[in-house]
Amino acid sequence: MPQNCEECRSQLSAYADGALSMDENRAVHAHLIGCARCAEELADLMAVIHVIAALPPVPPREDPWAAVCFRLRREGLVRSRYMPRARWVAAAVVGGGAIALSWNMLFPPTPSQMADLDTYWREHASFSLESEPVHMGAPAVHAIEATYQLQGDLP
């Protein structure tokens, strides 16, 4: 169906983008062949599309990452030293062990606690006192003896 100028012009933008259906495209094309004014309008439209598309990107004058990052950290959205979950678990286990060891070294058991422990072993352990060092392990016994020596309470 032949188009008039108004119909044609309403579709020129989509025509320039290749966004018309085949039939619409054919109708606009046919009109443009016979209408110099609409053809000129299309040329102007294409020129404007071209110059706008050719606008250069505007490079930022500032790098706002530091400011953005500061806000993200303050809001708890990111951490500066990120570790995946598996590493967090491993770090927690190692850290926990280290804390427990440090605690024992800083606050060694008192003689009365050791006596309680000794009673506990006598009551619950199935081995004889003579074999105690072997079952407890020599390092453990040495650690207990060292503790008593440090505190001057070695019997």
Binding site: L12, P57, R61, E62, W65, L72, R79, Y82
Partner: protein
């Protein structure tokens, strides 16, 4: 994009380097978009910062229904429109935009013609770029958004519709009208 998804997952676990990578990926484009939308106003830098803060806050719950690009652009255009709205309420400069649009095409042509540039003065380059920016600034915000996303950012009609939340037909119509205006305002620069 697989890399982008990994970056998002790492960011969601709190990885600062992933956040920075996302920022570096989109900062130049978002800055350009904000510049074109806000007409190079001094608020561009503030606007860009706000875009990324909003984006990163929202990204914690991002499920990937839209592409990250579409999603960030949507936040960027909405933030720019908020800035334009605030600026419009603050002063009379931007209120001229609405008047220009309501006055119709003939008056718009007269507006630019009143600048009385001789053909010799109409050189390509910086002057043309400035003229294009002036033309963009004169468009009503929703028309400016559609034109910038389509012709400056090179998005498809569907992407523009997705970013702006407007129907496809509305997007086509806005782009067509914005271009018709731009032709009237820029015609002399193109001869």
């Amino acid at each position: 994009m697989a890399d982008e998804r990994q970056l998002i997952e790492r960011y969601q676990q709190g990885d600062q380097t992933a956040a920075e990578a996302i920022f570096r990926l989109y900062h130049p484009a978002i800055h350009s978009l904000a510049y074109r939308m806000l007409g190079g106003s001094p608020e561009v830098e503030d606007c860009v910062q706000e875009v990324f803060l909003r984006a990163f806050r929202g990204l914690k719950g991002f499920r990937g229904e839209a592409s990250l690009k579409t999603w960030i652009y949507r936040i960027a255009t909405n933030t720019c429109l908020n800035y334009l709205d605030k600026a419009k309420r603050r002063g009379p400069v931007d209120s001229l935009d609405a008047e220009v649009f309501e006055e119709g095409f003939a008056t718009l042509g007269d507006t630019l013609a009143s600048e009385e540039r001789s053909p010799e003065d109409q050189v390509m380059g910086v002057e043309l770029e400035e003229a294009i920016q002036v033309a963009l600034d004169k468009l009503a915000p929703e028309f400016r958004t559609a034109l910038v996303l389509r012709d400056v950012e090179g998005m498809s009609y569907e992407e523009v519709a997705s970013v702006t939340g407007a129907a496809l037909g509305t997007v086509k119509s806005r782009i067509a009208r914005a271009r018709t205006q731009a032709v009237r305002w820029l015609k002399d620069y193109l001869k």
